[in-house]
């Protein structure tokens, strides 16, 4: 169980929990990032921040500080589902 901010580029994981009180997390949920969803840390920006994460067929930019509240279950062999609209 690690915060998303500590993932390495290329690592996959499954979202365990986030913090709905935060505006950022609410926006992520509206985009479809819900507990149980698979995601992947694609890369970090050239300056280290923000992160690019992929889930549900989209890539979203997220700051390191905001990624702290997303707890992920890291699993190297859990590929991010391509959009068949059912992750």
């Amino acid at each position: 169980m690690t915060p998303l901010s500590q993932l390495l580029p290329g690592q996959f994981g499954k979202l365990v929990s986030l913090n709905p009180d935060q505006a950022v997390d609410q926006r992520l949920m509206a985009l479809g990032l819900l507990p149980g969803m698979a995601l992947k840390l694609v890369r970090r920006a050239p300056l280290g921040d923000p992160l690019a994460i992929e889930f549900g067929g989209q890539v979203v930019s997220l700051r390191l500080a905001e990624a702290e509240s997303l707890i992920v279950d890291v699993a190297a062999d859990c590929p991010v589902q391509r959009p068949k609209n059912t992750p």
């Binding site: 926006r27 949920m29 690019a52 391509r82």
Partner: protein, 715 residues
């Protein structure tokens, strides 16, 4: 009273090609107006849906959820709810979805279903879905959603457009509504509790959408709007949320959780296949967002952008200049009988407006390139790369686009700060926007560089100085923003969630259409404001006129040649005009910057609109040259200008030091009146606008003095 026109709203997530679809549906019959009280532009157009049914199609900005995260999104929500003053609820909604990611796009549609308005769904970018091997059963989807029309389109390719027209007609005629989801029973009763309480307290039953906003959002925007501010409001909401918790949901997460669960069921079996959206994006991003290559390419692209604007525009500019000269040559003899009118028309209007119009190509190319960058999807990557730098100043990557827009014109830059949620961060960004060298300053740099830097130091230095001037603003914007956000406003770091969309080829028609709209605005500005200002400046430079001036000069200096006499007369005429007297009076303030009174006059006259300095210099130097039929280019006139008295007598006015000082002054001084007004509006008052004005103008003066004094000693 004529019947209200049928209006249909076009909504959807960002990056779904909605605008391309809008253009395809409305052709060129579009207009841009205003929503009263807010600064989101109202983009509407006429759409012919067959059988004589003509509707007004309104293109709303893209948004992800009705739970608005910024004032911009709030306006869209308000328009859809019909709660925006002066704008009524649309008669139907067309939701544009990205066919390659239907689930996420359906979230908004599912929220919109709660509005209980006739709805139609458009699955755009179907060509890309097809390429990915995705097969979509639109019939099944339509059934599952209660019979709403579902069409596949590729707006970019122009396919499926007539199907959309038919779908709109169907939605309006048959009033097809999208099936609403069924809330879990405790959530349902929580919603009812709120409905009943509001009805009791305010006498009006709130809409379902409003109640959901109250229950699921952490802000009180909706309750305030409904006028529900009873003392027990918070307790009632809390109680309702407890009911939601009893159902097993965190109230702030309930909405997406419940909608998505519902939507997954709806979509079961609807789509088959598909190999991933990020086909091209993943590959391109590996290069464009690479840790080393990325930033290098970014800088290269930005530099290339400005270099292209400068170089590509050179020929069209020459044509326009030639046209202006030609016009002068024709008109002057025709008005020879009325010297005053002749002067007004040739030296005033044609010279003044012409000097301004000549920069149209540069503006066009700038808007074109920025439009291409945005449509292609690269802008999001730029924001991604730059965010770290921005957050250091307390801004975020979202500030990148307002600040970049500021390079074209500060006003859209200021308006686009509305997408920044935190008011303090928005203020800081808005304060920094005017530092970005707007397209109005371009003419000044271009004129100075072409007249003085280029001929003397070569095209290499010309480009360097051009780019350098744009950086001057940036150099000062950074510490300004830093001090502002860290110490004055104490801004907290900003949330930053930005989608990195698929890359796509910008559709030429759309990009050119937007460029054309901007050009039209630029031209009408020239035709109106500049025209009027030019006339007035001409008058100030022409009157009062001493008819005996020529004789008096001749009397005091009888050895002057005819030509010299004329030139001297003209110079003297200008000097004792109202403008001349005012400029001379104020000139001592600008003397340390190396400005003579004509430059001073130009600077002062351009406070309403920065480009006016070019027109003003056009007028003051043109008049000074006399009403001869052969027109002198402003450049030559300036190159030959010399100080006539004082310690610098006989040295060129436009020395390198003065030229640089002038450009630096322009780079930093407060921008046109419209910018100040917009700044006042966006910051909710004149305080910050006034601070911006004084801060920037004083800073500009100080730096101009520094530059002049330093450079003059080095050269």
């Amino acid at each position: 009273m004529s019947s209200k026109e049928i209006s249909v709203a076009l909504v959807g997530n960002p990056n779904t090609g909605k605008s391309t679809l809008f253009n395809a549906l409305t052709g060129l019959r579009q207009k841009v107006g205003n929503y009263p009280g807010v600064t989101v532009a109202r983009k509407s157009g006429r759409c012919d849906c067959g059988d004589g049914l003509k509707v007004e199609l309104v293109d709303l900005p893209g948004l992800y959820s009705l739970a608005a995260a910024s004032p911009d999104e709030q306006v869209v929500t308000d328009v859809l709810l019909g709660s925006l003053e002066g704008s009524h609820q649309p008669d139907a909604i067309v939701v544009v979805l990205d066919a390659t990611n239907i689930l996420r796009n359906l979230f908004l549609a599912s929220q919109l279903a709660e509005l209980n308005l006739p709805l139609a769904l458009v699955l755009n970018q179907a060509d890309i879905a097809h390429k990915q091997g995705l097969k979509i059963d639109t019939e099944l989807l339509s059934q599952r959603l209660g019979g709403v029309p579902v069409v596949l389109t590729s707006a970019w390719k122009g396919e499926g457009i007539s199907a959309v027209r038919r779908a709109i007609a169907e939605a309006l005629n048959k009033k097809t509504k999208m099936t609403r989801l069924t809330w879990p029973s405790q959530v349902e009763s929580a919603l009812n509790t709120i409905v009943q309480t509001i009805e009791k307290d305010t006498g009006k039953a709130p809409s379902a959408a409003d109640v959901q906003r109250i229950l699921f959002s952490s802000n009180t925007h909706t309750s305030d709007r409904l006028g529900w501010s009873h003392s027990h409001r918070d307790a009632v909401v809390r109680q309702a949320r407890d009911q939601v918790r009893a159902a097993g949901y965190n109230p702030l997460a309930a909405e997406p959780l419940i909608h998505y669960a519902h939507l997954r069921k709806v979509l079961e079996g609807v789509t088959v296949g598909g190999n991933g959206k990020q086909g091209n994006a993943a590959a391109l991003d590996k290069v464009l967002l690479n840790r080393v290559v990325g930033p290098i390419l970014f800088i290269g692209i930005m530099l290339g952008l400005f270099a292209s604007v400068f170089w590509l525009a050179k020929f069209p500019m020459q044509w326009i200049q030639a046209g202006v000269d030609f016009l002068k040559a024709i008109v002057a003899p025709a008005l020879a009988g009325t010297p005053m009118l002749q002067s007004l028309v040739t030296d005033g209007i044609i010279a003044g407006v012409g000097a301004f119009l000549v920069f149209l190509p540069q503006i066009l190319i700038l808007f074109l390139f920025v439009g291409i960058l945005e449509d292609s999807g690269y802008m999001a990557r730029a924001a991604f790369i730059m965010d770290r730098l921005f957050s250091w100043c307390g801004l975020n990557g979202k500030s990148f686009v307002p600040l970049l827009s500021g390079f074209a014109c500060a006003i859209p830059g200021l308006l686009s700060t509305r997408t920044i949620e935190d008011p303090k961060a928005r203020l800081a960004t808005a304060f920094a926007v005017p530092f970005m060298s707007c397209s109005a300053r371009f003419p000044v740099y271009a004129l100075m560089c072409a007249a003085f830097i280029g001929p003397l130091y070569g095209p290499g230095w010309e480009s360097v100085v051009m780019v350098g001037m744009h950086c001057v603003g940036l150099i000062f914007a950074v510490p300004t923003a830093f001090v502002l956000t860290r110490f004055v406003l104490k801004v907290k770091p900003q949330p930053f969630v930005l989608e990195l969309p698929r890359y796509q080829m910008p559709k030429p028609r759309d990009v050119i259409w937007r460029m054309w709209q901007n050009a039209a605005e630029f031209i009408s500005k020239a035709g109106t404001v500049i025209f009027a200002i030019t006339i007035i400046i001409w008058a100030l430079c022409y009157f009062p006129r001493d008819a005996q001036m020529s004789d008096r000069i001749k009397a005091s200096e009888p050895t002057l040649s005819e030509h010299e006499l004329q030139a001297r007369t003209q110079a003297a005429m200008i000097e004792q005009s109202w403008m001349g007297r005012f400029g001379k009076a104020v000139q001592p303030v600008f003397d340390p910057c190396g400005f003579d009174w004509k430059i001073t006059v130009g600077v002062l006259a351009s406070f309403p609109a920065r480009e006016v300095i070019v027109s003003t210099l056009g007028v003051t130097y043109s008049i000074g040259k006399g009403a001869e039929a052969d027109s002198e280019h402003l450049r030559t006139a300036m190159q030959e200008a010399k100080w006539t008295d004082g310690p610098r007598k006989s040295t060129p006015i436009f020395s390198l030091a003065a030229v640089l000082a002038l450009m630096v002054f322009f780079a930093l001084c407060s921008q046109c009146g419209a910018t100040i007004a917009t700044l006042a509006q966006e910051t909710g008052g004149w305080k910050w606008a006034a601070i911006s004005f004084f801060y920037m103008t004083i800073l500009a003066w100080v730096m101009a003095v520094v530059v002049y004094q330093v450079v003059i000693r080095l050269t």
